[in-house]
């Protein structure tokens, strides 16, 4: 929520700078950004009490003292005669109504109100709604204003099983379903309690007589409604986090005061309903500073302890009475956090502790297997488990992100095929991938199995021995089953015809339950996991790459190493990779033939032929100057 710096300052005794205020807000746990004079606050969910000017300054007064009392209407208020029935006090244990009629609408707002709408208050709507919004900002208590003339009969609050259309005061239409807390009159729902009022009873710019409802709704009764109906409101945000159950009359008196600041009041009437038997009693915690020291590791004395709590407006006599607006405090651990916030987490000294060691550092079969696969050129992928594919044993997601992700995968196969095709589309011609993941299926109960999936296709490797050989079932068989001494891995070919691809290389796949892998199998020792290299990552280029192959004839064998070294070292920003893919000795002619491949790609653009040719020239010219080195046909 947005709060003005000037408003905060006005409510504090000391007048801290923005920087100091910001520092103390962070110390208290209130994240924020500062834009000019506006503090854009983000409060943690259990601090609903801070969602207002007075709430936040209450917290800050521990450092800066509190300055400005809120002016309320002090006089006698006549009792309101209203036909009202609360059918569900559990959902609404406290509710007050204020009826105000004014003589004339004001032509302009007082500076404090005008300034609010000129800065952070948004658009004005009408006098009473504007005051309601301002009070919510100031005191944190939402109020709802009904145009009094629109409610002719009995007003009922109830938690009702609904199947009704409801038009909000913002003129959006929603269909209320299942149970909702609502206000009804004449059988019509006129307000979705704690979320938004209805159009039929809303105030207009000509409204002069209003009924202001001010309640405490149990957060559990309100929560989820605004999301369900997509009615995001300041009121629901506050009620969901809990408002102050003892503030309703004061809030309405503040309302009356602001109205009085703006217009001559013709009549003013108030009525409150308090359902004592369902109201949560205020929390009391015994005074015990040793408990706090034991939680925090501090050595506070009793005076410091009481001092901190008094700074936070706790009422202390023979016990500590938690203020009614602090729904987040029930135990000594809660109090410990309060005290720690005022001390400052960063000011609490850290205290060494030696864990009684329980760690076991056995090399797991996973670590060994990973090392084995990586050494053989496989790369590990991780996939999301969501799929549209629905098998008998699939786990169904009740609330999927979308219809295409409404089941959990029962195998790693489809994910790995997708990964393979994705890389083929990016001109990869030698692909070896694996994934290790838990897979969940259902039979009568939910079953968990750790699986390894391996997929291969394309060239065996990018070196001159294996470049022209293809990855196939024999390769996988030799790699995996040969070591086992038996056919533990079942290797299948995945037919291309069902896939969206024009490539011809065969695809082979194997998947295995971890429990079926003999633990003695992969004798690689696991890597040193701590010796991770945090390389400086470079974003992937999405521009196309170009491949160029060159065939060198070397007539002087002593130049071989020089040529290869020069080629291997020709790194450049636009050379993505390069490698020797062919090596042939012709004993008859005493010559050597080399095949060398360059793959060009830019991070910034699609490379033109000219750019690539210029780069090639600069690589090849020095090579061709070497005696006995040539590129036949060039």
């Amino acid at each position: 929520m947005k709060i003005l710096y000037q408003d905060l300052i006005n409510h504090l005794l000391d007048k801290p700078t923005k920087e100091l205020l910001s520092e103390k807000l962070f110390q208290l746990g209130h994240e924020h950004e500062i834009h000019g004079d506006v503090f854009d606050m983000e409060f943690i969910p259990n601090r609903g009490d801070c969602l207002a000017l007075v709430g936040l300054t209450r917290d800050l007064s521990a450092f800066f003292g509190s300055a400005k009392p809120i002016h309320i209407f002090q006089g006698e208020i006549d009792p309101l005669e209203i036909e009202f029935e609360n059918l569900s006090p559990n959902d609404c244990p406290m509710i007050s109504f204020l009826e105000i009629e004014i003589e004339e609408l004001p032509s302009e707002y007082k500076p404090y109100l005008e300034n609010y709408f000129n800065t952070i208050g948004g658009n004005k709507t009408n006098l009473f709604t504007d005051i309601s919004n301002y009070i919510s900002y100031e005191l944190g208590q939402p109020t709802h204003c009904f145009d009094r003339t629109t409610i002719k009969n009995k007003l009922i609050f109830e938690n009702k099983d609904c199947n009704n259309n409801f038009k909000t005061l913002l003129n959006s239409e929603v269909t209320l379903t299942n149970n909702n807390c609502v206000f009804c009159s004449d059988g019509e729902i006129i307000s979705l309690a704690g979320v938004m009022g209805g159009a039929s009873t809303a105030c207009s710019t000509s409204t002069k007589k209003v009924l202001i409802e001010c309640a405490y709704f149990n957060p559990e009764s309100i929560i989820g409604k605004s999301v369900k109906y997509n009615l995001i409101s300041d009121a629901s945000h506050k009620f969901e986090r809990g408002v102050d159950i003892s503030s309703q009359e004061i809030v309405l008196r503040r309302f009356a005061k602001i109205v009085k600041d703006h217009a001559k009041i013709k009549s003013l009437k108030l009525k409150s309903y308090l359902y004592n038997d369902v109201i949560k009693q205020s929390i009391k915690i015994p005074i015990d500073h040793n408990k706090i020291n034991k939680i925090l590791g501090t050595s506070l004395n009793i005076d410091e302890y009481i001092g901190f709590l008094k700074d936070l407006n706790f009422d202390i006599s023979n016990v500590i009475k938690v203020p009614s607006y602090r729904h987040d405090i029930e135990t000594n651990n809660d109090l410990a956090e309060e005290i720690a916030r005022v001390i400052g987490y960063d000011n609490i000294k850290s205290e060494p502790i030696n864990l009684k060691k329980t760690a076991n550092k056995d090399e797991t079969v996973i670590a060994k297997l990973e090392s084995f696969l990586v050494k053989n050129g496989f790369s590990e992928v991780i996939n999301f488990p969501f799929t549209t594919e629905n098998q008998k044993e699939s786990i169904n997601i009740d609330n999927p992100l979308d219809i295409n992700r409404n089941n959990l995968r029962v195998s790693l196969k489809h994910s790995l095929i997708e990964n393979l095709l994705y890389n083929e589309r990016r001109q990869k011609d030698s692909i070896k991938l694996f994934e290790i993941s838990d897979i969940y299926t259902k039979d009568k109960v939910i079953k968990q199995q750790k699986k390894l999936g391996i997929i291969v296709s394309g060239r065996l490797r990018n070196n001159y021995i294996e470049f022209s050989k293809k990855l196939d079932d024999k390769y996988l068989n030799k790699l995996l089953n040969y070591v086992c001494g038996e056919d533990i891995f079942e290797i299948i070919e995945i037919p291309r015809n069902a896939l969206d691809t024009k490539k011809k290389d065969k695809i082979f796949y194997t998947e295995i339950n971890f429990e079926n892998i003999p633990t003695s199998l992969f004798l690689e020792s696991g890597r040193n996991k701590k010796a991770i290299k945090f390389i400086s990552y470079k974003p992937i280029s999405e521009y196309p790459s170009s491949t160029r192959d060159f065939s060198f004839l070397i007539e002087d064998k002593y130049k071989l190493n020089e040529v290869i070294n020069k080629l291997d070292n020709s790194s450049d920003e636009i050379i993505k990779s390069s490698f020797l893919f062919d090596y042939y000795k012709n004993d008859k002619t005493n010559t050597i033939k080399l095949g060398y491949r360059f793959i060009f790609q830019s991070h910034h653009k699609t490379l033109s032929d000219k750019e690539i040719n210029d780069k090639i020239d600069s690589i090849l010219s020095p090579l061709l100057e070497i005696d006995g080195v040539s590129i036949p046909g060039m």
Partner: protein, 241 residues
């Protein structure tokens, strides 16, 4: 005899593959914690509401339990765990203090946008013994962050809220840019959670912390798009040798 017979052929290059950077980072974090004395424990990704929420003091009304934040499966018989904390709950029920556990793995939230994924990885740790304090928590967190970001890293603790810890904190480090970056969440284990796990909260207390693996990996590798991790692009993966 040809004069090429004793020519040494060029080296055969066998480029290794790579382990996924998220798993590398996860294993690295686990190793740091194992060296400190934490034992790794495992648990299921499909959890019950009891272990994912109730036992951790996450009340029925807590926003995290809403359908829009948590994936429910099989007509609400289970949830995709939203954190790895239920693994710790399961292990605590079977152990007596002192205990020092870490749990790591995939967790799920019903999010999918530029900065949030429906699946990500966490590493969590918990230590329970007699007289464990917030000051001890600070010590442990400093140790972890010094290991991760060097002994000169500037660390800030901010009060925060988690139902399973009280007091709770979020911890920031000062980046080179001069901005504070949130790194992890932690706190003193809420005595309610200890009691839920049949541990006497008058005798024992604990500390707990959790890190987002992708977040740490992104910081350490200098990445700014979390989605890159899960495209399975070999050009991407090949960088993390």
């Amino acid at each position: 005899m040809s004069n090429l017979d004793n020519l040494k052929p060029p080296n055969i290059i066998n480029e290794p593959g790579t382990l996924h950077p998220v798993n590398q980072t996860k294993d690295y974090l686990l190793t740091i914690l194992a060296d400190m004395g934490f034992k790794e424990i495992h648990g299921p990704e499909i959890e019950t509401e009891k272990f994912n929420f109730d036992m951790l003091n996450i009340k029925k009304s807590h926003p995290a339990r809403q359908m829009h934040d948590t994936f429910y499966v099989e007509e609400r018989k289970g949830v995709l765990r939203t954190h790895t904390s239920p693994v710790q709950i399961r292990s605590m029920l079977e152990s007596k203090p002192p205990i020092a556990f870490t749990s790591a793995g995939k967790v799920y939230r019903k999010d999918d946008d530029a900065t949030h994924l429906p699946m990500f990885h966490q590493v969590e740790g918990i230590y329970i013994d007699e007289n464990v304090t917030f000051a001890n928590l600070k010590y442990i967190i400093h140790q972890i962050l010094n290991e991760l970001f060097g002994s000169n890293v500037q660390i800030r603790f901010r009060p925060s809220y988690f139902p399973f810890t009280e007091p709770s904190a979020e911890v920031d480090i000062l980046a080179e840019s001069g901005k504070w970056l949130e790194i992890l969440g932690c706190g003193v284990v809420n005595p309610i959670v200890l009691e839920n796990c049949k541990i006497d909260s008058n005798k024992y207390s604990g500390l707990a912390f959790g890190l987002g693996v992708e977040r740490i990996a992104m910081l350490k590798y200098g990445m700014n798009d979390i989605r890159e991790f899960y495209k399975s692009n070999l050009d991407f993966l090949a960088q993390f040798k």
